[in-house]
Symmetry: C3
Subunit: 396 residues, 3 copies
């Protein structure tokens, strides 16, 4: 119980900021204090549940999910988070809805929100679309609230867009916090966010973007590495650079995986599609140009295949600090000899860190719950105290 009280005390020290009645779309929209609050709430909820103290803050309420792409772990994380706080999940399945009947985003946003507390959205397929869509929904919810249509400002949690993947990067950060014994210990640590070969194409940019956009806030040495042409969205690169300057860390980009791995404390090797390919793909998807998409896939896979040596294997790991960098991945990873012939990571390296990656993933439900919690309650520390004092059992 002591550490829960300690966490709540820590939480009450931060500048409150603007989390309340607000959306969580991009980590770089938030102050560092706001991000730390979310992490602290996440840890507090996790500890409470583990000690069988129910964090159920809602007696009823809906958490709506909109998945415009397949998902296992984010879907389950969202459900777990909503359920933990007492909300039921209602999915907006766009195929089963009447949205095609000419309903606008504004209208749908209102129609699904009369008794809805939170909406989680995953929309990462189209470059330039996902974040834009979330902002459109957010504006509709704000207007609905101001017009008296909605009883409260329903808030949004970004479950992955074309620009950022904040529930992933914040879970990753919580994993690092625990691994290195505190956020302050991350200062000066080197993280290598690198591209890695995969026999697939069209993987979103939001994970590497989320990582460089967040880890540069903490005084870390963030090294991004990818083959030529495998760029990320330029705006996000700029944000990372600015962040690094402000936090006293650094942000570098190279085309050399080994250089990035050298003396790294943390490595995050992961495939993504080149920015320009994603742009072309977005155009072709919009036009439903199947032949064009096939062509693009073929040429893209061919281009990928020049970089099969961008694999995280034991040799590469030896380059890292004492050969013992922490390997990270958002999962599922493309593992050579397991899920594909040649992939992002060798079987040996992945197996060594497998349990670590599972733990990394285990933070996500709590990070999402914390994002929900901080958007719903003006004074989260006070509400957590109430929950701790209520001391309902989660399970009999």
């Amino acid at each position: 119980m002591n550490d829960i009280k300690g966490m709540i005390k820590e939480l009450s020290k931060f500048e409150k900021g603007k989390l309340y009645q607000n959306d969580f779309l991009l980590t770089w929209d938030k102050t560092l204090d706001e991000l730390k609050q979310v992490l602290t709430i996440a840890e507090c909820l996790k500890t409470m549940r583990e000690k069988n103290i129910s964090p159920r803050a809602f007696d009823s309420g809906l958490a709506v999910s909109i998945f415009r792409d397949n998902s296992t772990r984010t879907r389950f994380s969202f459900s777990s988070a909503a359920n933990l706080l007492g909300m039921a999940v209602q999915e907006l399945d766009e195929k089963k809805s009447q949205i095609a009947h000419g309903e606008t985003v504004r209208e749908t946003a209102n129609m699904i929100s009369f008794l809805t507390d939170v909406i989680g959205i995953r929309d990462d397929m189209f470059l330039g679309a996902g974040h834009t869509y979330m902002k459109e929904v957010a504006e509709a919810l704000q207007a609905g609230f101001e017009d008296g249509v909605l009883p409260k400002r329903t808030t949004i949690v970004n479950l992955q867009c074309d620009v950022d993947h904040p529930t992933q990067s914040m879970s990753d950060l919580l994993h690092l916090k625990n691994h290195f014994g505190g956020i302050e210990n991350l200062k000066g640590k080197k993280i290598a966010m690198t591209w890695a070969y995969s026999p697939s194409y069209g993987k979103p940019l939001s994970v590497p973007q989320g990582i460089i956009g967040l880890m540069t806030r903490l005084g870390m040495e963030v090294h991004l590495a990818a083959p030529k042409k495998y760029d990320l969205i330029p705006d996000v690169m700029d944000i990372a650079a600015t962040n690094a300057k402000e936090s006293g860390g650094s942000f570098t980009f190279s085309n050399d995986m080994s250089d990035a791995f050298k003396d790294a404390d943390i490595v995050y090797p992961k495939s993504w599609a080149p920015y320009s390919v994603m742009e072309k793909r977005t155009d072709l998807l919009k036009k439903s140009d199947d032949a064009g998409l096939k062509d693009l896939e073929r040429s893209c896979l061919e281009q990928n295949s020049f970089y099969k040596d961008w694999v995280c294997n034991e040799d590469k790991m030896k380059l890292t600090k004492k050969g013992k960098a922490l390997y990270m991945h958002c999962l599922p990873a493309d593992i050579s000899g397991v899920s594909c012939k040649d992939g992002e990571v060798s079987k040996e390296v992945f197996e060594k860190y497998r349990v670590d990656t599972y733990k990394e993933a285990s933070y996500k439900p709590y990070v999402i719950a914390a994002m929900m919690f901080s958007s719903q309650f003006k004074d989260p520390a006070k509400k957590l105290t109430e929950l701790v004092e209520r001391a309902s059992a989660r399970s009999l």
Copy 2:
């Protein structure tokens, strides 16, 4: 709190009737007092939630939904209502079930109801089918209860059938009650329920039928207008005429939209398919005659196109009482220049009343919850009093 007490007091004055352990299939099966009770419960639940007093009357329980047609707002309204009262939604997805294995309606009705309190059904595609199906399910539930198979009489809420759309018309009525300051103020008001042009075909008849079947109960002057051949089900026309006579209102039918709009207090312009087309369509759907359906669609759209002037625009609105009639729509509307080239309503008119239509829609979750509540509790006023006295917070 005072108005909640006032509502409960009002509620206890009505003749109780037969809402308890009963289905809500058609508004004209209910007495006016029963309908008023449902509206009062709906308002009470809405106010309670807005004041953060939890109306959760169930600690557990299932609300089963059966959607035989796509739906956004009704699906979310049903989920919201069930959740508000403490029930979890379990959808019967007929594609994922073994119903095709030769299971009868009677058997399925029992199999899904062992721990189910309420079943919501939407079945509006086939003329002559939806209401019939609901009655078949109702009989099976009654027999299951009497045979000792089911521990209670699971009840049905009609979420739209071929004949009526009571959750829509009752929400519309609650909107009117609030707009005009009381049900009694609707006496003598003129409502124009008119057909409107839409570049689609096959829209159900249940909304206009629901409106003329309900609004004629309240002493209103109900004007139905549609082009020749765009009839509704004759039986429902008869019911509306009888209702009007009994309530001291009137019911007229013409082929003149402008005449209907003239001096109207309320206008409800909406597209629907001609009764005879729905009959043909039902036959073709049953035969899976795709070519026949295409032909029917083509000829029907061609016929529709003669009536593009059946649009609710600013000129038409000028005909209404002081040019200020309340515009209503069940949404989504076909808006000229927004969701289609020519539609049911001009952009200008819709935009002027957009927030009103959203508010109109916002009553539906509470109307459904009230239908559930009144079917589950013999003395709703007493139960609401218990809930108010319990004073649990909906959200911490």
Copy 3:
């Protein structure tokens, strides 16, 4: 209330065994005392709910369902059970997930379980696959718990595999217990588990296997009958024989339906596919050999058609004890003249026992809830006592 206390007292007498933190995969993995505990808990939960005493032992928590085959009654039974105990259902829809992206069973099992108490799995399509899959998931959950990835040992309930269908056979047993006034009264009773004709093929073997594997535990005379070649899995036949020897009952297999029905107290006529056909079908399904599957279906239906006289009609029923054996079926049954021309059972016989079969089915939600309950709580009798003393109302 007295009988609830009696049940809890009965429950506390049994040897506790290893139900806690364990999976329920096969009835023959459990001791007879363990099975009796599950039945007693099921009855206790049923009585509590009927007396409006809430058995909600969880304030939040997820029950994950994985359905690899269509299902109505098991899906609803699982939802009802989870809901009754306070858990929300989250379905793992493998089509909407990223499992195809090369994720392993081990990884998925962990990713869906961070806040999950129970997983229900139905996987009965492939011979040799379903039970194997469940064991693989179980191992992953055990490892995840031991590695500190999962906060508790999430447990599995087998909702039907290729080998056993324990939620069905245990519901059937509870039905028999109530019909004959006690488990001890089943000793010496004759049950005929027979094949019956159906104009379909590929029906799983798990129901007859479940019945012979369970009923032989209770000193019953279990007669299995099927046409030549319609064998079950040999291992399960062996288990049934061993069980019978140990329990003081008997297990016989013949190719004569009438002989099995002779003097039977209970008859369970049901179609299944021959073991060898299921093996071929499994191979063809794995190869996606559609032509081969069509061929197999044709030849199998042709073979079936020689045995149309394997029908449970009034003549056959006359052979049973006093002509009054209890007819059982897991539903849906293939009823001659109702769901097919010639089927497993005549319309007359089915109609006579229809309500009985519905009651038989009504136990399943409680059996599943009892399997969940006994896997979650070390001392179920103590927890049930707490729930009875808490005396929360299920419905206001």
